[in-house]
Symmetry: C2
Subunit: 433 residues, 2 copies
């Protein structure tokens, strides 16, 4: 008899197996007990028929508590009525770990209570499905960038300077120096691109932002690819290919999780069709103005969540908005060749109200231009000497972008709040557990 | 004519191509110029024969400076004399980015100078080979744990408590609270294992340790798998399978990089043969005492670098040392069933003087035992309530381990100092660039 995982049930139909599980729920009568079981790979039902098992086993089945752990021994059968498609007819139960008064009952709890018990709440079906899809997006990210010839190039988390000003940075003492937690690895990725051609970072980033929205985390994971000898148009092609690959990977490998979430695969299929529409910032402003819904919108202002939602809904697909005003974008973006007021950049806006999931640009290559921009932004030139070296010694056209992992998870799973997209969210009022 | 990467040369023999490159070195006579070129995918030679090109092209070839960037257009040929195996016969050169007085010349520079110029130093051959092998180990890690059914489960970096005491932790202010940078995601991975069965984290960790050795970084990446319903013996099997997979992946995919490093693949092949020897801590002490080289060694002391080196050299392979004294190991390790003085754990020691690369254990499952250990260690019980919940609600036997990525990179590449194993090392005296 083999010890298996629930997810492997399909290979063991009508076979006797042993599985280590936890109980999520149960109902029973005098003659039969239905145990809802999970093992971290899937959820399914165990059936214990009184007349087929020992008295002791049936007593165990009737007494087992929510989240108690045990081994169940029995035979796998098909079960067409469940999402999962299989169940186990239990012959024997070996109790493993008790569970008394599990704090999360099937009744409704408030968000704070659930987040205080995040270490247990993660065992629930919806959280399971989201974290599994997150894991699939991570796997697919490595697979995609490997296939495309990128080198994983880790940017440091602790940096001695504050690239975009210190207001939203976490500070720490690094022995006798000041240090900050990285908000982005991009500048380092540019050094990587000059050394290894195509690179990407994928790691945690930190923003000490005092905002409480359903789109913001204090600690979140970013994927930041950077490509040498690459102009913005080629970068846009990689970006949309990457997003379509992510969505397709979830469609290919997470049908069960999508079912658990009630997320319609047909909606996701639409996002695998390329290319995504591209509109200029100018056109976006026009669209918003024409709609009549945004009386305050005018050229030069950044988009908020309502504007981003409108634009992506208009196309019913992810949409690239190109070439934003220079004044609202970071210093390192490449100036437009014929227009002084915009830079060569694009945000990718996700539909269904999820807003910006990618921000990217071609990078400025001229030392004198960059020095002026750094000065204008009120940054300390000394901190950027190494960065300017990348332009002093064999500068090349290069482009890159950043994708927020949790934004992508939230969008693809159709989840409402970004706090569910990471195992232990860090929020304005939350750093426990 | 296609624009290709150097690494793809083998598919374009006798074909005309265009490649974006940087110059690493050159020599020339009146009739021919040999340009050493790199593009981040490989290094090869460009040959410019005066009689075959325009006067302007030959002049460009003679004048091009170290780390100047350009497009070269020409025909790929085999070149059996080089590591890479191909070269390009150049017809035309399009200059891209100038380079004046590149600071790293082929002459010797001191370590501090090179680390101050790490953003440029990364372009060098040895650094290229190490970072590429690092990237391959990362890729192989995701491939391995995916194949084995693990879920990527990211532990938080910012934590509100200090799991192993605050002495070696970086502190920051988290709005109105105190926070610390994670030294290990393990406790969180245990919550993950109870929810998803087999999980792993792979992210940066931080140790504010005032030590300056060739084995320590302040910021380093750790892989921390954790498995529910898993005893230590099965964990050891996964560990050695994983290490052998990493080494095999480098052998399969990084022959060019190993050549650049002068690292003998035969040495690495030895490390793919399983199982690795297992000895108890008791036996290790005996071996060390018998050797006569360690007069001070006695039962109860932790091993230092010389002891670890001796033990691994003795077997000429990675070796597991099992069941260390309880007094020198963390509170969460499972006590031995029949001996009060040791815990169920193992360190994997790498040969060739690289020391511990994995530390792991079976975890204690009993709440009362853990509470006592937490108290004994002088830790605050309140910080561990969520962790103890994992034992209160369906505790199961579980085991896990941690691998330091940079230790593995250093060992597999045969590099002397761990600072080369990460793009931008954070060391006691270094947080720039
Ligand atoms: Mg925006
Ligand atoms: Mg040790």
């Amino acid at each position: 008899m083999e010890t298996i995982s629930i997810v492997d049930s399909k290979k063991y139909v009508d076979k006797k197996v042993k599985i280590g599980v936890w109980l999520t729920n149960k109902r029973s009568s005098g003659k039969i007990a239905f145990l809802q079981l999970r093992d971290g790979t899937a959820y399914f039902q165990g059936v214990v028929v009184k007349s087929d098992v020992s008295e002791e086993t049936f007593a165990l089945a009737k007494e087992v508590k929510q989240e108690e752990s045990m081994y169940v021994i029995g035979t796998i059968h098909e079960d067409a009525r469940s999402h999962f498609g299989y169940e186990i007819e239990i012959e024997d139960i070996e109790p493993v770990g008790a569970s008394k008064d599990y704090p999360i009952s099937p009744k409704d709890h408030g968000t704070d209570f659930l987040m205080d018990h995040r270490h247990l709440w993660l065992r629930s079906k919806r959280q399971f499905a989201i974290i599994k899809i997150r894991s699939e997006l991570i796997r697919a990210t490595y697979a995609f960038f490997h296939k495309e010839g990128f080198v994983k190039f880790d940017a440091p988390i602790l940096t001695g300077s504050a690239p975009e000003g210190t207001t939203e940075l976490f500070h720490t003492e690094y022995f006798d120096k000041d240090a900050y937690l990285s908000q982005s690895g991009q500048l380092y990725e540019e050094a990587g691109a000059m050394a290894y051609g195509k690179v990407f970072s994928f790691g945690p980033t930190f923003r000490a932002e005092k905002s409480k929205t359903r789109r913001h985390l204090i600690e979140f994971w970013m994927i930041e690819p950077e490509m040498a000898f690459t102009h913005q148009e080629e970068s846009l092609e990689i970006q949309e290919k990457y997003i379509a690959y992510l969505v397709q990977s979830v469609l290919d490998n997470c049908q069960y999780e999508l079912k658990l979430l009630g997320r319609d695969p047909k909606v996701l299929q639409r996002y695998t069709k390329l290319p995504y529409p591209r509109i200029s910032y100018d056109e976006a402003i026009e669209l918003l103005q024409k709609s009549g819904d945004f009386p305050d919108v005018k050229w030069g202002k950044d988009f908020g969540s309502p504007e981003e939602t409108y634009l992506a809904e208009h196309f019913n697909k992810p949409v690239f908005v190109l070439n934003y005003p220079k004044a609202i974008k970071p210093f390192y973006m490449k100036p437009h060749p014929t227009r002084k007021d915009v830079v060569i950049c694009a945000d990718l806006l996700a539909p269904e109200g999820y807003g910006e999931i990618i921000g990217g640009s071609e990078r400025a290559t001229d030392v004198a231009y960059l020095e002026k921009q750094i000065e204008k932004a009120g940054l300390d030139k000394a901190d950027y000497q190494w960065y300017l070296d990348l332009r002093r010694y064999g500068s090349v056209p290069h482009s890159g972008f950043g994708l927020g992992l949790e934004r992508a998870v939230t969008w693809i799973t159709g989840e409402e709040h970004i706090r569910e997209a990471i195992p232990f969210p860090r929020l304005l009022n939350r750093i426990y557990p």
